[in-house]
Amino acid sequence: MKPAQCFWTALLIAGVSLAGASMARAQVHDAALKAAYIYNFAMFSTWPDAVPKTPLYVCANPGGPLWASLQDINGKSVNGRNWITAVLADQKTTRCDVIVLSPSDERPAASNGGKAAVPVLVVRDGAGRNGAGRNTAAVTLVDDDEHIRFDVDTGEAARDGIHFSSRLLRLARNVK
């Protein structure tokens, strides 16, 4: 490459980069959108043993990509219950009404297999690793090219003691 051509190429790329930087617009991480989804899932779910005005504990792994976005919803009302984001590992000491799993998280043994000890809504962000454990969530968030979708497993939800509204089911990509 001739020095002149090298110069023009570098200038072109630098120009585009600077133009892009100055033109950049505000945006928000997709984690925020997924957190909003999970808020809506909670809105359209029924916990048979729910006590009004008690906190709604949403448990997740603090190292997961959704943790910060879930925390930002703290204090917001879900059908009269205040959203509180809690650490999933502390499940023995904290009741979990919602469990949020990242693709690499394994579902905690306490809520695994058979009927859950207490009703719990399990949401997985993406399919499990290489198909392992892919059916262990009542709701699975799915990334596609331009949108975020969700799949509902009513059998899994029933095992966990959760009922969904028809409005939630209507908007799901897949319902099993």
Binding site: V16, Q27, Y37, Y39, N40, P103, T136, D143, N174
Partner: protein, 672 residues
């Protein structure tokens, strides 16, 4: 992945604008940091599902940080933003990779290794997890002859390094897995038309349907044609050879069909391509500036069944069938004057595979599987048309079977050990065992170190062993060819960047033994494939992926050195590569600007040195330029850089010039 925001929004107006801006199935959301989540939670679920997002490959960082390799993922957003028309365009932007083109096919090089005359047989190309390399040439189709139209691609995953421990033959330098879209991601009817320089045009359409019971259908078809340019080759610059200008011989045309159907645990995928390319280079000894073309058709059919038998056991069974046909028609000088000659191949194959994923043991994931198949036809033929004279008629078939096991073990202290081994047996070649070992350690939540050891092999293909033609531009058979083998050692450091993105540094040592190489036989002057003693590739790659603000940046540099056993530098082996891909929105509009820079240092050719280059490609994408219509404009080789690739021994030329600057425009429409 980010949600884009219209400019100059006041916070109190955001929600109203969100709803107002929704254009049926796609809308953009106004939100900034701070109270994003609270605002998004006020949006009804019906509208959340319609929000369009911009995808970033960095969302795969968490998954790839646990992969036993430095995996790179390219998304449909990348394909759109950079205007990639072929797999080769996309793969050329990956760290340590480079692409050459001889105006017939596109060829892929990695880590300083590209053998001119080889049809990408050192890469395994999967479409939705199914092998597509054919049974005669082992060819991975990555140019305009590719099996799938790029607008139907959802994701491209590239796993560099040896993959034979899982996939068997051909996975020497990497595994390319192309994941196609489904009806759920492309619902309804879509159509697109495109036009470009040198009379290039293309039309495509697709229809997608999805039901809540999981039933899913996608059907897509595309057709393209390109007139091509008249190309000057000084090697043929004589008065009786049109002064070195190959006129109207660079044409390209073809069509693709994709059909996918899924229901319950079953998934069916069918792919088809038919492409005819004019060859202006007079390769393989044809008379210069006479009609010469190659036609490649390939069809693939795959049925997969996946079921989670229990929480600890997932089972996957697949059957696949494929056919590939190749035909080259050219004019040769014979004793009786110019004679039309036909060279061709028919390949047919089918296979069955089964594998189980077991997660019952604590901290372990075991994958165990096996496959068997038959290459029912590996036929090659060659004949002169008039007078009819059969030069080659070779029919072969081969059986193959394999067993493999892979175990991922999670140990205390952030260690993950990934060990695998595969046993391959072929009726036409010796048995092979391919081991792989990866030790991963999460030094911190953000840092991972990977130590990788692997081995892979490639059996010589029917073309290399049995293609024999007497006369000028001909070839010699070599039935004594042995499989080539590669052994690799690599260290990878991955650092997750705060926010969104990651940086990767890798250093590697590849040792290739019994390398199969095409050369000119000293005695006869014919092309022949022989096992060289060995070759080594040493190098380092640094790569960065970053999403900051609305911009998406991917950059990499590679230093590499490929040497043969005698210590000589390998041909077509650049010592340095650098790439930058930047996608950024334009102010005050929904338009996006994708700029790409691909640079390579000089390379050794058969007779000298071919110069380095930096090529820049620019793409402007304007969504909703009309209701339901998106427009994209691309300028490829924007600075009209003159550069060339090393030619194989089948060419009289030492190098083949690459495409000059071209323009391309595409209009895509969604029917409602």
């Amino acid at each position: 992945m980010f949600v884009t925001k219209p400019p100059r929004l006041r916070s109190t107006m955001r929600l109203a604008l969100v709803i107002a801006l929704c254009w049926r199935s796609s809308c953009v959301v106004a939100a900034t940091s701070g109270d994003d989540e609270r605002e998004l939670t006020t949006i009804p679920l019906e509208e959340l599902v319609q929000i369009a997002v911009v995808t970033s490959a960095s969302k795969f960082a968490q998954i790839t940080s646990e992969a036993p390799s430095s995996v790179v993922v390219l998304t449909a957003a990348d394909i759109r933003d950079f205007g990639w028309r072929t797999l080769a365009d996309a793969l050329a932007t990956l760290p340590g990779m480079y692409v050459s083109n001889d105006r017939n096919y596109a060829y892929l090089g990695a880590r300083g290794f590209l053998r001119p005359g080889d049809y990408n047989s050192r890469f395994l190309l999967l479409i939705d997890g199914v092998r597509t390399n054919d049974a005669v040439f082992d060819q991975a189709l990555i140019g305009t002859e590719g099996l799938v139209d790029m607008s139907m691609v959802k994701r491209i995953e590239f796993v560099p390094g040896p993959g034979s421990a899982v996939y068997g033959s051909n996975a020497l330098f990497g595994v390319i897995n192309v994941i196609t879209r489904e009806g759920s991601t492309l619902p309804g009817m879509h159509a697109a038309i495109a036009a470009g320089s040198y009379r290039e045009r293309k039309a495509s359409t697709s229809y997608g349907w999805h039901s809540q019971n999981g039933a899913d259908v996608l059907i897509a078809a595309s057709v393209f044609a390109r007139g091509g340019q008249d190309v000057y080759y000084p090697e043929f610059d004589t008065r009786d050879q049109n002064n070195g200008v190959a006129a109207r011989l660079d044409h390209d045309r073809g069509h693709n069909v994709l059909f996918k159907a899924a229901y319950d645990d079953f998934a069916l995928t069918a792919t088809h391509v038919d492409r005819t390319k004019g060859v202006p280079t007079a390769s393989f000894g044809v008379l210069f500036n006479t009609p010469h073309s190659t036609r490649d058709t390939q069809t693939g059919l795959a049925l997969a069944w996946n079921r989670q038998l229990s929480p600890q056991v997932a089972l996957s069974v697949g059957i696949n069938w494929g056919r590939a046909d190749y035909l080259a028609i050219g004019t040769y000088a014979r004793v009786n004057g110019p004679t039309v000659n036909v060279d061709g191949a028919h390949a047919r194959w089918y296979g069955v595979n089964v594998h189980a994923t077991l997660t019952g043991l604590p901290g372990q994931k075991v994958v165990i599987g096996g496959e068997t198949g038959i290459d029912t036809r590996q036929d090659q033929f060659n004949f002169d048309v008039r007078p009819y004279d059969v030069v080659l008629s070779d029919q072969r078939f081969a059986n193959r079977s394999a067993l493999f096991v892979e175990d991922e073990i999670r140990l205390p202290g952030g260690f993950i050990i990934n060990a695998g081994v595969r046993y391959d047996r072929r009726s036409d070649s010796s048995s092979r065992i391919s081991p792989r070992l990866a030790v991963l350690n999460k030094l911190t939540p953000l840092d991972t170190v990977k130590l990788l050891y692997g081995s892979a092999f490639r059996s010589p293909n029917a073309y290399e062993k049995y293609h024999a033609l007497a006369g000028s531009g001909g070839s010699l058979a070599n039935e004594n060819l042995r499989p080539e083998r590669i052994t690799t050692r690599e260290i990878v450091l991955e650092h997750v960047l705060p926010g969104s993105g990651h940086a990767t540094l890798s250093m590697y040592h590849y040792l290739m033994s019994e390398l199969i190489n095409q050369e000119l036989d000293a005695g006869t002057g014919l092309l022949v494939f022989r096992n060289l003693d060995h070759a080594t590739m040493n190098g380092a790659e640094a790569a960065l992926e970053r999403q900051f603000s609305d911009m998406r940046l991917r950059a990499s540099v590679a230093w590499q050195m490929g040497r043969s056993g005698s210590g000589a530098e390998l041909i077509e082996s650049p010592r340095r590569l650098a790439k930058i891909n930047l996608a950024a929105p334009l102010k005050g509009s929904y338009a996006k600007f994708g700029s790409e820079l691909v640079c390579s240092s000089s390379r050794q050719s058969n007779r000298g040195t071919v110069g380095g280059y930096c090529v820049s490609n620019l793409t402007l994408t304007v969504p909703r330029v009309l209701p339901n219509a998106d427009l994209s404009l691309s300028l490829f080789n924007a600075l009209d850089k003159r550069y060339a690739d090393v030619a194989s021994g089948a060419f009289q030329q030492d190098t083949i010039a690459r495409q000059s600057r071209t323009l391309y425009a595409k209009l895509a429409y969604r029917f409602r």
